[in-house]
């Protein structure tokens, strides 16, 4: 019974996600690897949003799984309709990248993806068999909040009262996506669980592997993509995230998916990517406070790159059409902020302290904190090679060595990271906590959240350099299908 229940916990959001992808016009053939990851992202977000609304309306938690199954049934119908339409309409297969490895190389890549997924499942099983949710942030932040929601029966006054004492749940202001996914598990089992609630968060790490596989294969030949996927799957923090019910895996998935999908939209102008990217941005913003900052960085990067690239009339049209999709991430952020205001949950970093407001602290502490930030960044980004496989210094080195060739590589990703890093630096400069304590407990996670996109960049750079040296084709994406709308690309040809 437990195994069947767990299957429903995992399968229902995924089916809902497949239905959502169908509604957005995204098919399995568009990306055979990333599709399953996107389906999980979309489905888990929709399930959590639906559950949030359910709780706000005061409906019983235990009745929610049945309601979700109705949603899943609707998703199946949507998927079936889309599949039948695709069968009967003449469809052109998505263009394959040129010179992207033979059949054997692609089979090898498939084997590596399967091995990385198997490794993720193995780690999850071992972690769940070793200890229940008991220690650290997974117990005191994420599971604690989920238990408070379940025990109080919803997002109500009883929940507000349960959360009052300082020591009950830490970081009360953190977004609800992770806790709601755990409540989803509790609702299926009819009680607070001690281990089963990990699976729904561990599934996000599996989705990250799949989304990364699809994104890497777009940018690099299969052999190279496989190498980078191995580096991601063997990074220290991904191993840690696979064993815990924390939210860093969700942030990493949301950021990778959002930037990859926005890049696809920039390349071929297909609106399905824009809409799915908006969903990914909502997922990212609702995963953790860092996710919200990263979503804003991605949005600012996108609009910065688009400014001045198009004639006035077309830009206005594009922005008008695209703005509707952005209602979702904006709405999610508004929901999060309004719930925090309702329950009085304040952020410890941005709130004023005895030392003054956040910006006053930044000014006062910058000199004292900068050294510590640099020291920790060196320790975890460079000296401990296993943490991030030296990807951050490598990316920087490549950019400095080949500024013309690589300077305009994946501009959206580069600019988004370029905006995010100073943002994180500001947080450390203005923190009200002891700086070394704050860095010790957070910098590894920050690096992990950015690692998949940095790996993407280095993979594209490697492919580009290899092509320039005469080994294989450039990273450039497949040419657009004839007839598809192009809105102009943010990916100028290398060397242009």
């Amino acid at each position: 019974m437990g195994a069947l229940t767990l299957l429903l916990v995992l399968a229902t959001p995924w089916v809902i996600g497949c239905g959502a992808l169908s509604a957005l016009g995204v098919r399995f053939a568009h990306d055979r690897f990333a599709y399953a990851g996107w389906a999980w992202l979309a489905g888990s977000l929709i399930t959590a949003l639906f559950l949030c609304g359910w709780l706000l309306f005061g409906l019983p938690i235990d009745a929610f799984p049945s309601a979700a199954r109705v949603l899943a049934a609707a998703a199946i119908l949507l998927f079936a309709r889309s599949w039948l339409r695709a069968r009967h309409a003449p469809q052109r297969a998505p263009a394959r990248p040129e010179g992207r490895g033979g059949r054997l190389e692609r089979l090898l890549f498939l084997a590596v993806v399967a091995a990385c997924l198997a490794l993720t499942v193995d780690r999850a099983v071992r972690a769940n068999a070793a200890e229940v949710v008991l220690l650290g942030d997974e117990a005191r932040i994420w599971a604690g909040k989920a238990k408070a929601i379940h025990v109080s029966g919803g997002l109500n006054e009883r929940f507000a009262k349960l959360m009052e004492p300082e020591e009950i749940v830490l970081h009360k202001d953190y977004p609800l996506l992770n806790p709601l996914l755990q409540v989803w598990t509790f609702a299926h089992f009819g009680r607070v669980t001690d281990v089963e609630n990990r699976w729904v968060i561990q599934a996000c790490v599996a989705a990250l592997i799949l989304a990364a596989a699809g994104a890497l294969l777009r940018l690099a030949r299969p052999l190279l993509a496989a190498l980078f996927l191995v580096l991601l799957a063997t990074s220290q923090q991904l191993r840690v995230s696979t064993g815990l019910v924390e939210a860093d895996g969700l942030v990493a998935l949301g950021l990778l998916a959002a930037l990859d999908l926005l890049a696809r939209f920039e390349e071929d102008g297909e609106r399905r990517w824009w809409r799915l990217a908006a969903l990914a941005l909502a997922y990212l913003a609702w995963s953790k406070n860092e996710g919200m900052a990263l979503a804003l960085a991605a949005a600012v990067a996108l609009f910065t790159l688009r400014l001045g690239r198009r004639p006035r009339g077309e830009r206005a049209l594009l922005f008008a059409g695209g703005a509707l999709a952005l209602l979702l991430p904006v709405g999610v952020i508004a929901l999060h902020l309004s719930l925090n205001a309702r329950f009085g949950f304040a952020n410890d970093i941005t709130a004023s302290s005895a030392a003054g407001t956040f910006f006053a602290r930044v000014v006062a502490q910058a000199g004292a904190h900068l050294g510590a930030v640099c020291a920790f960044a060196y320790e975890y980004g460079v000296r401990r090679a296993g943490e991030t496989h030296l990807m951050f210094p490598l990316a920087l080195a490549l950019l400095l060595l080949f500024p013309r060739r690589l300077g305009r590589l994946l501009p959206l990703l580069t600019l988004a990271c370029g905006l995010a890093l100073p943002g994180f630096l500001l947080v450390y400069l203005g923190t009200p906590h002891d700086i070394e304590w704050h860095l010790y407990w957070s910098i590894q996670r920050i690096l992990f959240q950015l690692l998949p996109v940095v790996l993407l960049w280095v993979a594209a750079a490697t492919q580009e350099l290899a092509a320039a040296a005469g080994f294989g084709a450039s990273w450039r994406a497949p040419t657009a299908r004839p007839g598809s709308r192009r809105t102009g690309s943010c990916f100028p040809r290398a060397g242009a």
């Binding site: 408070a148 020591e167 001690d194 580096l231 090679a385 296993g386 490598l394 060595l401 350099l465 040296a469």
Partner: protein, 175 residues
Amino acid sequence: MAKAQRIKTAAAAAALAAFLLWAAGAALVREARILSSVSLAERRALLDVDLEDVYRASAREHYEMFTALRAHVPRDVHLVIYSRVSAEQQSDPLLGQDLKKQLTLLRGKLQALHFPAQVTPLAGEVENPETYLALLDPSYYVLNITPEADFPGQSRFDLVARGATYALHRFRGAD
């Protein structure tokens, strides 16, 4: 492209490829070491693990206590962990710290495993017993981890469960 630039690019590509192969190889060796620490049979057994056994292993010496809590105590109550310590023990710099640490750890474990609404550690005597008793209501439970000794106001509580290392009481109300 100028020859020098071509050489530079080719050298960088080769160095990059070598580094990536080394990094991935080292990572795979590390991973293989971790994977080989658990045999295939053990791995298969993990798929079928009894989650109650995992709970028991996590609760350790407190398993019996937590089982009693699960059976008798709702999750949204106020739980007081009481430990009888003498004034001398409390003021002892080493022993007092150790006792405080034990209570803190148990409190953390309780909130993680059982999530009562609030867990208050209480050790030794209560300074103002009448004020303390006036604050109690039926949502209060006391978990006495030194069951051989009474705790303040015990006469107003009903015994719910008892084990070798604990006694669980629920506040009855005013006499």
